[in-house]
Symmetry: C2
Subunit: 478 residues, 2 copies
């Protein structure tokens, strides 16, 4: 692969994965740093990627009956405090507005870290009868969490996300919603982002503040660490009781409704980078890439070359492919490196010899393979190649996950695997908080989830030896 410009600018991912990541987010034009720590500027390329993710999710949410709303940015301190577990989880990391114009506010207002309290306050106004349920709401917005250490996409003091909030007449219906939305996230990850997931439920220690149950999709990054990629929470009627939301059922009896919330954020872009990227830069799954095909005219000074490149772009666009050409006066080698850095799935080169031979040359970003395409096969071969790239990225990530997930029966075994290989370790677990804490202290990992796909790895919790029939996945998480 040609790398005239960038090869010296980007850190080797196997030497320093963190620095490699930071290099990618800036060199691929995703991020700029703002003047405030932990606040990142999403440049057009990152925004376009997020918009594609939004489009997939928003369409799916609406198919499932959800409606978008827009809640206020600010939450009065007294409102945040209404649900005690929730405020305990979030109060230490919120930003406070204390002045409006020249005046000090009578009550300080926090910038939303998440909006459960706002949705509940609204529902208390509008929910009266069983006819009003379910409430199936979502909002696209940014939230603030005053994190100490920050990294682009992975941990920002501000990030973009969607937060779904729903209210149901019965616990069963709310539970089903929670799992349905987890599956929406899993499908996004696997089918669009080519990121295989482990689906499961969080332990009490790791669940969302105020939730009865938190479901999660966990992905393994190239460096074998875990990324929690989307979560879905079941609240029972705890918030409804705290906010006095009641509805009269069909027998005219007053009941508390049951609630869920679920969110996925721009952190997933960090996941895409760390799953598929390599030492040449980003590598984007075709189904989500803002530009799927970049056409590079070779020897642009010769007559007819640019015209031919433009024609290929039009033909590809007519097929529904997101294609562009670069007609700038930069050299082809520069362009090749630039679009490899940006992770564009397929490059098409077209030069005088190609035109003579009635062909163009397609170069895959995922494996560097180059192959000629007869021009009259363009509309069939390019979608095939994009499909192959999508599959190959998924398979490679799946292999990384499978290869780096190991089972351990004893605590020693688990610790050895983690110190030698990293990755995920599956063990049995007794369910006790202390064993999770010990695992963290002695093996440096947290529980990722109790996977839906349960396995019988042994009979006992490897940490305390108590009998157990529950398997759990451990790993180091972003």
């Amino acid at each position: 692969m040609v790398n005239e410009r960038n090869v010296e600018q980007i850190t080797d991912m196997d030497e320093d994965f963190g620095q490699w990541f930071t290099d990618i987010v800036t060199k691929a034009g995703l991020i700029d740093y703002s003047g405030v720590k932990g606040f990142f500027i999403l440049r057009p390329y990152a925004c376009a990627l997020w918009e594609n993710i939004q489009a997939v999710l928003d369409t799916r949410f609406k198919e499932l009956g959800h409606e978008n709303v827009s809640m206020p940015l600010l939450i009065p301190e007294s409102l945040l405090q209404k649900e005690k577990d929730h405020v305990a989880g979030f109060a230490p990391e919120v930003a406070w507005v204390t002045h409006g114009g020249a005046e000090e506010l009578a009550e300080r207002l926090c910038v939303r870290p998440t909006s459960e309290t706002l949705f509940c306050d609204h529902w208390a106004h509008v929910v009266r009868s069983w006819r009003d349920l379910p409430m199936l709401y979502n909002q696209w917005c940014s939230v603030l969490r005053w994190e100490k250490s920050t990294r682009p996409f992975l941990r920002g003091r501000e990030f973009l996300w969607q937060e779904g909030h729903t209210l149901h007449a019965t616990a069963e219906e709310a539970e089903l919603e929670t799992q349905q939305m987890l599956n929406v996230y899993a499908d996004l990850c696997e089918d669009y982002l080519a990121m295989p997931v482990v689906k499961g439920i969080k332990t009490d220690k790791e669940k969302f503040a105020g939730a009865l149950a938190t479901y999660t999709v966990e992905c393994m990054m190239h460096d074998k660490k875990a990324l929690q990629s989307g979560t879905s929470h079941y609240f029972g009627d705890g918030f409804a009781r705290a906010f006095d939301i009641q509805f009269s059922d069909q027998e005219n009896k007053l009941c508390y409704p049951h609630q869920t919330s679920w969110g996925l954020s721009t952190r997933i872009i960090g996941g895409i980078i760390m799953t598929h990227g390599d030492n040449n830069g980003l590598s984007l799954p075709p189904r989500i890439a803002p530009t799927q095909v970049m056409v590079i005219p070779i020897a642009t000074h010769k007559p007819g070359i640019n015209e031919k490149a433009a024609e290929l772009v039009s033909r590809l666009k007519a097929t529904g492919i997101r294609a562009k050409a670069d007609f700038s006066d930069q050299r082809p080698g520069w362009k090749f490196a630039e679009y490899e850095m940006k992770g564009i799935p397929l490059r098409i080169e077209i030069g005088p010899k190609d035109i003579e031979n009635d062909q163009c040359v397609a170069a895959r970003r995922d494996n560097g393979e180059r192959q000629p395409i007869t021009l009259d096969k363009l509309e069939s071969r390019v979608p095939e190649l994009l499909g192959d790239i999508q599959k190959s990225l998924y398979n490679r990530a799946k292999e990384n996950l499978t290869h780096n997930t190991r089972s351990a029966v004893t605590f020693e075994e688990a610790k050895n695997i983690l110190s030698q290989h990293g990755g995920f370790v599956k063990t049995m677990w007794c369910g006790k908080h202390e064993c999770e804490v010990r695992m963290k202290e002695e093996a440096g990992v947290t529980s990722r989830c109790i996977p839906f796909e349960q396995e019988r790895i042994g009979d006992a919790c490897p940490i305390c030896g108590a009998p157990s029939d529950t398997s759990i996945v451990w790993g180091v998480a972003y």
Copy 2:
């Protein structure tokens, strides 16, 4: 028109227009009030309306080469202060974040009231050469302005908007951009929202803080007051100098680029309400209505009725029409009133007699006309009717604007017109700030704009008598 439920609940618009407006925004399910003054919850119906407006604008912005970005929510005080006119305009009305978690911040941060300073800070990092220009950026977000008196849509402490920000090599190119984007707003208003506009330039007194020129589209509401519906600003190189943004041109000379910004907000939803609404509720232009056709099955207990209604919805959807049916157990009269309140442009009733006659009945929201449609003509007649409704709403608004815009040669004449009729008054104007102030003090109006369509109403400024060849439009503004 049938009004079983709502007619007693909504204030007569000719008795108390302000209360009528407040009634509409709540009864039509657009808004709920949050616990913080001036922060309004956009309920699903308002959000869907805003999404339709977003889709029109976002598509157009992208066609014109703009890219979306996401800038931080917070601006350091020192950054806001870099351009002195700008900070003077905005500092008195911003909300300040002073604490992150438990810690007091070293420098307080304001929640963005607008993002010129953030865009400039970013451009200072990334703009180097003429190759980087133009920068054609936009962002969709919410902004905060700590207003004293607030009203849903019209004046909120938080509102949703888009803010476009562009940077150009030459003043001419930036000026063209400013006017191009004003025309995008004018087209949105006239072609989609059925709101005729007066296009023009703001006086120095009314222009945006820090701008050299502010262009505006002004619309007349049903109560004859003005709504500034979209603005586009030309900044020259003032911000570039304040933020030290320079580029090397093709001769390698360092130059300051020229800048624009332009914005349109959810305030436009207030404009739609106040342009087209009536005493039965909202009335939405079909091109922007979340639901264009509501099908109401009559005598739902009879066999085949609901099925037929569902079939009509499918057929309409297949034609690209946003259609729904209401199968709930509410009575038809309740449903009629409900969807009139929500301003759905066309209602289609289908009952047993209609099915016998192979027809349905279409009822227009704009004028109450009911007419049978032969079922095999559904796919042609419904789009025709929606087109007619769109035109008729526009024409009615245009007539309101024309009828209530009067010319005055003398100050007395202007004052008489305004006290007797309200509406817009056109006069000549000398260009002096004092005359604007006097007009405000003595006639209670502000200058709306110096319209692009200039007229020779007289020879002199009616206020001071100085010779003038510039005409101006005055009115009371929201």
